[in-house]
Symmetry: C2
Amino acid sequence: MTQTVDQQASAAASAADAWLSAFQQALTARDADAAAALFAGESYWRDIVSFTWNITTVEGPAEVADLLRATLDQVDPVGFRVTEEPAEADGVVTALIAFETAAGRGSGLLRLVDGKAFTLLTTLDELKGHEEPVNGRRPNGVRHGAFRDRVTWAEDRAREATELGYTVQPEVLIVGGGQGGIALGARLRQLGVPTIIIERNERPGDSWRRRYKSLALHDPVWYDHLPYLPFPASWPVFSPKDKIGDWLEMYAKVMELNYWGATTCTSAVREGDGWAVVVDRDGAEVTLRPRQLVLALGASGLPVVPDIPGRDRFRGDQHHSSAHPGPDRYKGKKAVVIGSNNSAHDICAALWEAGADVTMVQRSSTHVVRSDSLMDLGLSDLYSERALAAGVTTFKADTIFASLPFRLLPALQAPVYHAIRERDAEYYDRLEQAGFDLDFGDDDSGLFLKYLRRGSGYYIDVGASELVANGGIKLAKGQVTELTEDEVVLEDGTRLPADLVVYATGYGSMNQLASGIIGQDMADRVGKVWGLGSGTTKDPGPWEGELRNMWKPTAQEGLWFHGGNLALSRYYSLYLALQLKARMEGMPTPVYKRAEVHHTE
Amino acid sequence: MTQTVDQQASAAASAADAWLSAFQQALTARDADAAAALFAGESYWRDIVSFTWNITTVEGPAEVADLLRATLDQVDPVGFRVTEEPAEADGVVTALIAFETAAGRGSGLLRLVDGKAFTLLTTLDELKGHEEPVNGRRPNGVRHGAFRDRVTWAEDRAREATELGYTVQPEVLIVGGGQGGIALGARLRQLGVPTIIIERNERPGDSWRRRYKSLALHDPVWYDHLPYLPFPASWPVFSPKDKIGDWLEMYAKVMELNYWGATTCTSAVREGDGWAVVVDRDGAEVTLRPRQLVLALGASGLPVVPDIPGRDRFRGDQHHSSAHPGPDRYKGKKAVVIGSNNSAHDICAALWEAGADVTMVQRSSTHVVRSDSLMDLGLSDLYSERALAAGVTTFKADTIFASLPFRLLPALQAPVYHAIRERDAEYYDRLEQAGFDLDFGDDDSGLFLKYLRRGSGYYIDVGASELVANGGIKLAKGQVTELTEDEVVLEDGTRLPADLVVYATGYGSMNQLASGIIGQDMADRVGKVWGLGSGTTKDPGPWEGELRNMWKPTAQEGLWFHGGNLALSRYYSLYLALQLKARMEGMPTPVYKRAEVHHTE
């Protein structure tokens, strides 16, 4: 029997209401088993802070019951309810929800199949008594009245600038002033947590300005908004590097961040229940004593340059992709770029445009997706003008995405990439005919999974692949065995004359980068950062269920990692900031099952 | 018979649909009289650009018919329709509408009483073929593909900076880089009109930074948004001066304005069908040849200092309020502030806070309104969190406000100020008991009308009035007859000892300010700027129906005025920009009844 849309809608609403009502009843009765029985045999509950003071995915009724037994009394959840009309599609009822706990107010998303929970996401969005002063709570800005002790906003900011880090210690120190550190800094400021962000470059945005000139964001604008202050309606789809640099610079200023540029971190050691962090601030040594230390160093951290024999004798220019100045001085020269992922492609295309003779050396397969296809088929349901017009706000899109269990993501993503492969079949054929070694991820689950698992191994095509396909960029394959004075030599004996060698050979681990600050012992104790434990290339098991060490308590008290692309950084900056705020306020934050460390690197 | 809400709603919709249908029919048939007959005897049609290429209010059927006879063929309006469910209240049906013309697409607001039009607002919001590249039309940002002639965004901006004003002339030159010039500049950039903004101060926002330290915006944030990039959710209700300065500075940068700071305008003369404008750019003379010249000099232009005998012999500090450095050096000193409007009150309060002995000399009555009351009773239906929650977007609020005929505004505003007077009765009593000379505008129509008529004569109370009421700020009354070495002498013989005299005595006319650039003859020909011709104090008749010379064609071809508070500047910047764009594109822009000039000053 087919139902009308209205009937379907109200059946979905009934199902959601019934489930939430039963769930709340069990929670109120502190009956963990009854609550767990509402979950399907294969089910996933992902909690971000609200129950677990962690970022945790539990699977199946037994794990659900265990989570509840450990947390129910303290959390005291109430008010589980739908917040929008639930929808039904393909046998799945989806409902956006809200609830309250003793500590705060949260939201989330529920998926029901046959009346049982298939996925549940719960997130803590604000702390009671410490709500962000935004919208209806925004500050007055000026003290109306007449006060002999008036301090103006400008005087207040000036005083903060002289005191914070000197006579007054910050609660939080963020190392790394890229978009991650900046987004987190904005959240912390709104929550009234005194924070300093330190950045090696002089100005916010410099890490972008200093990259090769053709660089632009690969993710479209709707995906990229920073917290509180979205890009304006006039902002381009793909931000050129200097434009995003300018935005970050003005954002840091108008969001009133305490941003120390030209500042490097020398060391960080535990001191009492906090840290002693020695920094070099524009030539002057300063010791900061924050209680919490956040490393937001970015994925592009320590450049990895392979130890190839003959590098010292090569007479041309050679540098890692991160130090590539751009193509302008290589017109008519022979450029050999080692690597075949994003940087390699961008740099090869820019060199070709500048009139260089370009060869890309591909050492392993690369997953290539055309930017248009990724945007249309991969992102646009959630992040696009179309999505906005359909009422999918940025927060709603982020919520929907966060509600997809990592375990299921490969199966959910595979059809997207299958569709992409079909849509661009001719394009992929031409690439392969040119000899390019293509993949779609170990299990054909595509780009985003590659990103989550290993942060590399792909190229979002904005033009270079056409050149590879048509030979404009020449392709060579295999490992590099040595450099001569003027050649790159491959394992099959191929000799590539070169005036320039660019090592587009990636970056070391976040863990490695961190060890330069916190020391190897602590870095090893904290372990590998990023990856899911999927058992695929560069992401060894066991299964973690969440991204290792990101945005949540680590094995080192007081040490945290922030980062991710602009969307993840935006979304998780709130939840990390709330965890830090709660600690500052002395609220109890019992962590449910802090993740075990399985790998150091 | 009472109707249900639904019945009322659908009756309103029927009435609006019926009227618009009849109106469109008459327009299509080019039957001006039939269209005019749809208007009530007392009625107002305000058109912003769409029919008249002007900003014009016509009154009554005869004037409506005349407007249509003059414009119908060229405008060719079609598609008049409601865009939202109309509403009915107190016998008035209100409907938001949309329509198209040969040149573009527009919107507006219709009010019907007994089936006839009482007020109609029509605005042209975009030009066909020249739509703003925003939202779904936003630029890609980067040219995907491989192009040997690629120019990056940064290179493009750098090239523009070296060329524009030198080897390439701007279409528009805006003199004045305050919030008005900046808002208009942003609109013009989005419309692809090459524009330079020149500003005497070095950085955008400096005109705010240089003011006395306690200054903050008097209008709340929801009223103040700039085009395209609204203040974030975290922004305070009242922006401190330095914060608004920072916002303007970053806005000019991220909205990619061609902003020449440290640049003054020496002269502007007609040259061909454009201008030769000599400017001093940071010491270097540059001649600019724009086709269009916009003066956005601000209301705070030429300081007026009364010619009081003895000024030269006074031994203390004396300066106009615009040059007041702030109160810090006057602790324990005797300060006499001449004037009783906004600047006078702010400066007196700040001096009191710093421990000075303060006397305010009131020479004429002042309209005082408490900031809270103004916000709650005056603005919050349209500009507040509550309004936003009720679906009143900034554009909708601006539209509703623009749809109120100036002729009716006093009668509409009077009850608001009556309510304010009642709410704050005790406060006003105390002020009057302290001797303060209060008014509510000539016809009790309150602050906004005073603003529109004369731009002065009021104080939005953010704390000073309490000090006047309780004597913290001493009050003296009457004209100043002379200064001695150390006293201010009033006409009644009162002698006020003084170490400091601040002339909070206002500013000259915009016309006066303009004459310094375009010469007295041209300034006189163009005439008085601002004011409605209400026949009230400082706003002599005859009735203009619109603000003199603002945002529309003036008596001088190619000369325009932009400005107003942040809300007016935001709203009218679009319509002025469209008029300039249309001229740049060579589109026909026949102006219906350019306003006559009745006053020079």
